[in-house]
C-alpha cells in the first residue's frame, strides 16, 4: 500500500507555481503541526463531551442537551469560559513555576503525537525510535506535575504532585515492557512498521490475538498513566480536593484539563496502533481492491482507503476512550498502596514474564511471531 503522500503533492504544486523547493518545504513544514494540534484539541474536546454524556447515561440522567444538538457545543462553552476566566494564583505561590508546570505537561503530551500515524503517510515524522520516543517524552510530564504541586504552596497540591510522580514512574515500566514485547515481534520501534506488520490478514493478524497478556498490561498501565479512575489517585476529590490542580483556574487549568484528555486520546491511539491494527480495517482492504480489479495507485481508491483508515483508527481510539469513561463511572478508586502494589508486585513480574514468553515464541514459531 503506497498511500497518498500529501507532502510531495503540495511541494510539487508549489514548485510548479514558481517557488524554489526550499521555500515550498518551508511552507509545508508548519502545516502538519498546526493540523495535528487542531485535531488533538478537537479530539480532547470530544472526549469531554463524551465524558458528560456517558456519565449521564451511566447514572440514568440525560446530560447536556440544550447547547446545540445533543449538547455538542458544551465543550465550546467550556473553553470560552476557561479562556475569559481570570487566573488567580495564590499569594504565596511561586509565579514562574506555577505557570511553567501546566505548560510542560501540555507540551509533553502534544509532542507525543509527532509519531502517531493516521495512515501510511499521514503522520508528522516516521522516526526510527517511534514508540520509544512516545514513552520517553511522556515521562517528562511528571516533572510538570511536581512543579505545579510545589509551586501552588498548598499541601493538597504537593501531595497530588508527589502521587502523580510516584504513579507515573511505577507504571511506566510495565508500559514499556509491554511495548517492548510488541517491538520484539515487529522487529522495529517505528509506529508505521508496527501497524504494517499487522496488516496481512485483517482482524486475525492484529497483535491483540498474539499478545493478550501484553494487551491487558498495556491497558492497565495506560489508564494509570492517564490518571483515570480507578487510578486517579493524584486528583482524588475526597482525599486531596483536586490534587495538583487545586489552585489552578482559567487558562492554566485549561492546559491541565486539555492535557489530560489529550493524554487519554493518545493512550487510545497507542492501544489501537500497538494491539488493534492501527488504521487497518478488520478485513484486508488491499485484497478487496485486487478482487474488484482496481490498481492500488488509482487516486480515488487511495483517497477512499485513507478515509477508511482514519475512520478505523478514530473508531478504535474512541472505543478505548469509551471504555475508560465507562470504567470511571462504574468502578471504585483503589488506595495508593494498592495502586503501587499492583504496579510493582503484579504488573512488573507479569510484564517480564510476557517478554520472556514472546522471545521464546518468536524463536519457536518464527512465522507467527515475526521471526
Amino acid at each position: 500500500m503506497g498511500g497518498i503522500d500529501l507532502q510531495r503533492s503540495l511541494v510539487e504544486v508549489l514548485t510548479g507555481a514558481g517557488l524554489s523547493s526550499g521555500a515550498a518545504k518551508a511552507i509545508w513544514m508548519p502545516l502538519p503541526m498546526i493540523l495535528i494540534v487542531l485535531v488533538v484539541t478537537v479530539g480532547a474536546l470530544v472526549c469531554t463531551w463524551l465524558e458528560r454524556k456517558i456519565s449521564a447515561a451511566a447514572q440514568q440522567r440525560i446530560g447536556p442537551e440544550y447547547a446545540g444538538p445533543f449538547g455538542i457545543l458544551i465543550p465550546v462553552a467550556d473553553v470560552a469560559k476557561l479562556v475569559i476566566k481570570q487566573g488567580t494564583p495564590p499569594a504565596k505561590s511561586d509565579p514562574l513555576l506555577y505557570t511553567l508546570g501546566p505548560a510542560i505537561v501540555f507540551i509533553s503530551v502534544f509532542l507525543c503525537f509527532l509519531v502517531v500515524p493516521f495512515g501510511q503517510n499521514l503522520l508528522i515524522s516516521n522516526i526510527g525510535t517511534g514508540i520509544f520516543f512516545v514513552i520517553a517524552i511522556s515521562s517528562i510530564a511528571p516533572i510538570g506535575l511536581l512543579m505545579a504541586g510545589y509551586a501552588s504552596n498548598n499541601k493538597y497540591s504537593l501531595l497530588g504532585g508527589l502521587r502523580a510522580a510516584a504513579q507515573s514512574i511505577s507504571y511506566e515500566i510495565p508500559l514499556a515492557l509491554a511495548a517492548l514485547a510488541i517491538a520484539m515481534m515487529s522487529n522495529s520501534l517505528s509506529t508505521i512498521d508496527i501497524v504494517s506488520q499487522q496488516a496481512d490478514y485483517g482482524l486475525l493478524s492484529w497483535n491483540i490475538l498474539r499478545q493478550p497478556i501484553g494487551f491487558v498490561i498495556f491497558v492497565i498501565a495506560a489508564l494509570a498513566e492517564c490518571e483515570r479512575l480507578p487510578f486517579d489517585l493524584p486528583e482524588a476529590e475526597e482525599e486531596l480536593v483536586a490534587g495538583y490542580q487545586t489552585e489552578y483556574t482559567g487558562m492554566r487549568f485549561a492546559l491541565f484539563y486539555g492535557g489530560s484528555y489529550a493524554n487519554l486520546v493518545l493512550a487510545g491511539m497507542l492501544v489501537s496502533i500497538l494491539y488493534l491494527g492501527g488504521w487497518e480495517l478488520p478485513f484486508p482492504i488491499d485484497q478487496v481492491g485486487d478482487m474488484l480489479g482496481i490498481a492500488p495507485s488509482t487516486a480515488w481508491w487511495q483517497i477512499i482507503t485513507a478515509m477508511l483508515g482514519i475512520t478505523a483508527i478514530l473508531l478504535k481510539t474512541y472505543f478505548f476512550v469509551f471504555t475508560a469513561i465507562l470504567l470511571r463511572w462504574s468502578v471504585p478508586r483503589v488506595r495508593i498502596d494498592q495502586l503501587l502494589d499492583l504496579g510493582w508486585k503484579f504488573l512488573l513480574p507479569i510484564g517480564l514474564f510476557n517478554l520472556l514468553l514472546t522471545a521464546a515464541l518468536k524463536l519457536a514459531l518464527p512465522s507467527w511471531f515475526g521471526g
Partner: protein
C-alpha cells in the same frame, strides 16, 4: 547554507546556551528545588545535542532515563524531605567560594586550551538509515561483554526491587504505649524456611 543547515546551526547555539545557563543555575542557585528543575532542563539540552548528532535512540534514552527517572526521583526526594531549619551561613563562606571559583576557572582554561590545540579527527556525520540497527550490531559484536554484564546487573536490580517490594510487614504489632517509639522500623514477617 540551505534551510536544514541553518536550522541546525541555530538549534546548536540555542541548545548550547540552554545547557550552559541551566548548568550554571544548578550550581549557583541557592534554592535546591530550582536547581533540581534546572537539572532537568540541562538533561533535555544534552538530549537535544545528541539529536543534532543523529543519535536519536541515545537522545530518547537520555530523556527517558535522566529526565523521566533520575530527575523525577531527585525531585521526589527533595519534596519528601520536610526539614525546616534556618539556613546557617558557613564560616569563611566567601573564601571557599573564591577558591572554588579559581579552581573552576583554571579547569575551564585548561580544558579550552586542550580543546583548541588538539587535532580532532573531524569526520562529517554519516547518516545511518537506522541508528538502532547499528547499535545492536555493536552490542552483539565488539561490546558484547559490557552489554551482557550491564544487562545482568539491571536484571539483578529489577528482581531485587520486586523481592524488596514483596516483603511482608507486620503492621498489627503495636509498640506498647501510645507515644511514638524511637524504633521506626517495620517488623518483617519471618520467611518460612524453604518449604517446598
Amino acid at each position: 547554507m540551505n534551510l536544514g543547515e541553518g536550522v541546525q546551526v541555530v538549534s546548536l547555539i540555542v541548545l548550547a546556551a540552554m545547557l550552559t545557563a541551566s548548568a550554571m543555575g544548578v550550581v549557583l542557585l541557592p534554592s535546591i528545588v530550582y536547581a533540581a528543575f534546572l537539572l532537568g532542563a540541562c538533561f533535555i539540552s544534552v538530549a537535544g545535542l545528541y539529536l543534532l548528532l543523529n543519535a536519536d535512540f541515545v537522545a530518547a534514552a537520555q530523556v527517558l532515563i535522566y529526565v523521566g527517572a533520575v530527575n523525577v526521583l531527585i525531585l521526589f526526594a527533595i519534596m519528601l524531605v520536610n526539614k525546616r531549619q534556618p539556613y546557617q551561613p558557613i564560616k569563611l563562606g566567601i573564601v571557599r567560594n573564591i577558591v572554588t571559583a579559581i579552581v573552576c576557572v583554571g579547569l575551564f582554561v585548561l580544558l579550552s586550551v586542550t580543546v583548541t590545540t588538539t587535532e580532532w579527527g573531524v569526520r562529517p556525520i554519516a547518516s545511518v538509515p537506522s541508528t538502532m540497527v547499528k547499535l545492536g550490531q555493536h552490542f552483539f559484536t565488539d561490546y558484547l561483554l559490557p552489554f551482557e554484564l550491564a544487562s545482568v546487573l539491571l536484571l539483578v536490580a529489577l528482581i531485587g526491587a520486586i523481592i524488596l517490594a514483596r516483603r511482608e510487614m507486620l503492621p498489627d504489632i503495636q509498640p506498647s504505649g501510645l507515644g511514638m517509639s524511637e524504633n521506626l522500623e517495620l517488623l518483617e514477617r519471618p520467611k518460612e524456611k524453604a518449604s517446598i
